[in-house]
């Protein structure tokens, strides 16, 4: 085994352990934190980082040990890192509108998620709603 393969092996192992730990911590936050706005933090930041770490480990593994290379991992990583904030924004927006209308029967664990009133005018997303 060459020196490069040894270095790559340690790097891949470290990235895999880090990725698994980050994904677990993010999902634990999703299960444990008290309200939706706090749960968003765990699942959109920690879990995305964990999956990106696993994908980069795979991107190093295949050229070094299996003699094949594909750009798919990089594509998936980029796609996940671009779409995660958009998905989180949509979830938060749906939650705010439903809570404002009183459609979410009970508040998540008694913590209100309303946004404070702005200095002047109103929130654009609420003013545009019917």
């Amino acid at each position: 085994m060459s020196v490069m393969q040894l270095v790559a092996e340690y790097l891949i192992a470290a990235l895999l352990v880090l990725g698994g730990a980050f994904a677990l911590v993010g999902s634990w936050g999703l299960a444990k934190l008290p309200s939706l706005m706090t749960r968003l933090h765990g699942s959109t930041k920690a879990t995305t980082l964990g999956v990106g770490s696993c994908l980069i480990a795979s991107m190093i593994y295949f050229p070094v040990f299996a003699d094949t290379y594909s750009a798919h991992e990089l594509l998936i990583t980029l796609f996940l890192f671009i779409t995660a904030p958009v998905a989180a924004h949509m979830v938060a927006k749906a939650h705010l509108h439903r809570q404002r209308r009183g459609l979410d029967g009970e508040r998540a664990d008694d913590i209100p998620d309303e946004v404070p009133p702005p200095a002047q005018g109103g929130w654009a997303t609420f003013d545009g709603a019917r």
């Binding site: 352990v17 634990w28 699942s43 991992e73 796609f79």
Partner: protein, 92 residues
């Protein structure tokens, strides 16, 4: 595959399985619809990681198309669910 790498893959798979169980707990518990959408979104992201680990463990590149498709469908599903909650319709 070296012993260190297989140990790392086993550890990461265990972590991700536990993470998927926690996501399922949040999916069934709720309490709001947005919570369930968020749990589904995270479930799809963790499933992508499990597919990639499967590809490493068996040293085949055949699973990356599946991971890429799951990433796209998961994002579109999340946005469509949120749009439906917001407007009562997806394409207006």
């Amino acid at each position: 595959m070296t012993p260190l790498l297989s140990a790392a893959v086993v550890f990461a798979t265990g972590c991700l399985s536990l993470a998927i169980l926690l996501n399922l707990f949040r999916l069934f518990r709720g309490p709001t619809a947005a919570d369930r959408i968020l749990a589904l979104d995270t479930l799809v992201i963790n499933a992508i990681a499990v597919i990639v680990l499967f590809g490493i463990a068996y040293a085949t590149a055949a699973y990356f198309e599946a991971a890429l498709l799951l990433a796209m469908v998961g994002f579109l599903g999340t946005v469509a669910y949120c749009k439906f909650l917001l407007r009562g319709d997806i394409v207006e």
